[in-house]
């Protein structure tokens, strides 16, 4: 399959009293056309930063230090604001974790949806409205005409997330980035939204990059997985492979420490310690202080992300 987005050697960080603190370190991966790629990892490992780097939406203090974000042959990281505005919303769309705050409270749903069309298409106002109503019903919002005139606070979280999805779909983007789109939602609503996302994905044949920390979500909705830890990609695999046979000790620990429904377990596995602070990264393998099988090598030398066949890559000294 063609890859639609390639991220190469991405280093992102912020300046802290004169020296550079890396939040993302040598992130490398690609997203293929039409696939659903999951990015998992614990809080603070840099999932959102990866997504925001792609979109050029990094917070003020944080910059891309090096690396490329190649989309449709262009390096997004090097584009001017004007140029990237052409891409955002049209070719790549993004939805965010917090449906409560991601919509502008002062404008109606209709207004905010039409805005994307206004920016990227030459549609007339009434055509825009038609398209918006169509989108709203496509994402399963009952009474689209009524909701067109509603303000965000009048909708529930699930509805708002649907609106966000509709907004993302407005220009038939080639790729959709969803940053923890269901974390703030209840399980039953999460199921609805995930269902909607996969329906839409197959209908539009677009690539989806789904960021989550929930392995269950990964298993149910994605084809390929990238596991991140402390600003680095540590493992990449297809979903089946990963769950069948996780390779990186962190991935293994992660899978075992989450209680799983229906899997009665005496005692949970524990990954000891906490995620390292970016100001104070361990030398060598970043996971070694928490790793049960760490050796001196791990402490001293940083492993690279190595190919392990079948499209699998792992960053560990000890997995063959």
């Amino acid at each position: 399959m063609e890859s639609i987005l390639e991220i190469r050697e991405l280093r992102v960080g912020k300046d802290h009293d004169g020296h550079f603190q890396a939040i993302l370190d040598n992130v490398n991966f690609e997203v293929k056309q039409g696939e659903t790629l999951a990015i998992v990892g614990e809080s603070g490992c840099g999932k959102s930063m990866t997504a925001l780097s792609i979109m050029g939406l990094l917070p003020r203090a944080i910059q891309i230090a090096s690396g490329k974000v190649i989309f449709g042959g262009k390096d997004l990281a090097g584009l001017s604001r004007k140029e990237i505005d052409q891409v955002r919303g049209k070719d790549i769309a993004m939805i965010f974790q917090e449906p409560m705050t991601s919509l502008n409270p002062s404008f109606t749903i209709g207004n905010q949806l039409s805005e994307v069309l206004k920016i990227h298409t030459a549609l007339q106002p009434n055509e825009r409205k038609e398209r918006v109503l169509e989108l709203l019903s496509q994402v399963g919002i009952p009474d689209p005409a009524g909701k067109f005139k509603s303000y965000p606070h009048e909708l529930s979280g699930g509805m708002r997330q649907r609106v966000m999805i509709a907004m993302a779909l407005a220009c038939n983007p080639k790729m959709l980035i969803a940053d923890e789109p269901t974390t703030a939602l209840d399980v039953t609503i999460q199921a609805q939204v995930l269902n909607l996302l996969s329906e839409i994905q197959s209908q539009y044949q677009m690539a989806v990059m789904l960021i989550t920390h929930d392995l269950g979500v990964v298993a149910e909705t994605c084809q390929r997985v990238i596991v991140m830890y402390a600003g680095q990609v540590i493992e990449e695999a297809s979903v089946e492979d990963l769950f069948e046979q996780p390779m990186h000790p962190y991935t293994i620990g992660l899978m075992q420490s989450a209680p799983r429904l229906g899997v009665a377990k005496e005692k949970l596995h524990v990954i000891e310690g906490t995620v390292p602070d970016i100001r104070d990264m361990p030398t060598g393998c970043r996971f070694h202080p928490r790793c049960e099988s760490a050796t001196d090598l791990c402490k001293e030398k940083e492993p690279q992300l190595e190919e392990r066949g079948h499209g699998r890559r792992v960053r560990c000294w000890h997995t063959a």
Binding site: R60, A61, V270, G273, D277
Partner: protein, 303 residues
């Protein structure tokens, strides 16, 4: 309970961040000190305080001594900022005047703070009808323009330093209470408050041990900004002829006396006015710098 830690599940805890209490305070101070304007303002304020304390020792002339042969003289070697319409040395009077401004400022802010913040915290924490009644009353006071309220009280109780402080305190209480109440409402919802209740902690304990330390930052900021307001209000009331009793020189009185001669000798009003402005700006700058140092949200924006 002694002996080994419970079970294997208890992780070897990493060293937490190296900061300690002192270091935490230091970092707030460091954030404050980073703000150059704030630092300059702080130094200016210290200077004013030193001047006010030392004023009786450093004044070149007796600020009350009238020298009718030397009236309304411009700045000269003898009289740094000239003399006023009684031939008194303006510079000496400005130095002494700083005492009044600072005294009114500090005591006024302290009184209004203690009362206002307490009311605000109690109203905010207790809620219900107590809140309703207290807030209605304070709102009412706020409705009357402070200058008129001040004049009325000053006329009623005669204008002297303590009445002046009283008036200004009354005027500031509602604002203080509002801020404290707002912050309290925010903190009140925090779970550590519920935790204390669940242990049986009294309201007194909650308000003064838990809420107060957490809203101290904003309260300090408000108090600093209030200092600037107090100084301005004092001057305004003095200007309306409701000032501190003579012969004590105050900046407001000086501006007022000088206003009669503004065409002749503008300095008479301008110099105390400028002193007033500098002090007021200093307090405002310090307040802003403190706000930035305390409010991490704004700290972010500053890079």
């Amino acid at each position: 309970m002694e002996g080994p830690a419970v079970g294997k599940s208890i992780a070897a805890i990493q060293n937490p961040a190296k900061t300690s209490k002192a270091a935490a305070e230091l970092s707030t101070w460091a954030a404050f000190a980073k703000n150059k304007m704030g630092l300059v303002a702080f130094i200016v304020l210290l200077l004013f305080i030193v001047i006010a304390l030392a004023a009786p020792l450093i004044v070149p002339y007796d600020p009350l001594e009238q020298n009718t042969a030397q009236r309304l003289q411009g700045p000269s070697a003898d009289h740094f900022l000239g003399t006023d319409s009684y031939g008194r040395d303006v510079f000496s009077r400005i130095l002494i005047g700083s005492q009044t401004s600072l005294i009114v400022g500090f005591i006024g802010v302290a009184i209004s703070g203690i009362i206002g913040f307490s009311i605000g915290m109690i109203a905010g924490y207790k809620g219900g009808w107590i809140d309703d009644i207290l807030m209605r009353i304070l709102e009412s006071i706020m409705t009357i323009p402070l200058i008129l309220l001040g004049m009325m009280v000053l006329v009623a109780l005669s204008s002297n330093l303590s009445t002046m402080i009283l008036v200004i305190s009354i005027g500031l209480i509602p604002g203080c209470a509002r801020i404290a109440r707002g912050s309290t409402l925010e903190i009140k919802e925090k779970e550590f408050i519920k935790a204390t209740i669940s242990m049986g902690g009294s309201s007194f304990r909650i308000i003064f041990m838990h809420i107060l330390p957490n809203i101290l930052g904003p309260l300090l900021v408000v108090s600093t900004l209030n200092m600037a307001s107090v100084i301005r209000i004092e001057a305004s009331l003095s200007f309306l002829g409701m000032g501190v009793k003579p012969p004590t020189p105050t900046w407001g009185n000086m501006i007022q006396e000088g206003f009669q001669f503004i065409t002749l000798s503008p300095g008479l009003s301008l110099y105390p006015g400028i002193a007033l402005m500098i002090l007021s700006i200093a307090f405002n700058l310090i307040g802003d710098a403190m706000r930035d140092a305390i409010d991490p949200h704004l700290k972010h924006q500053r890079k």
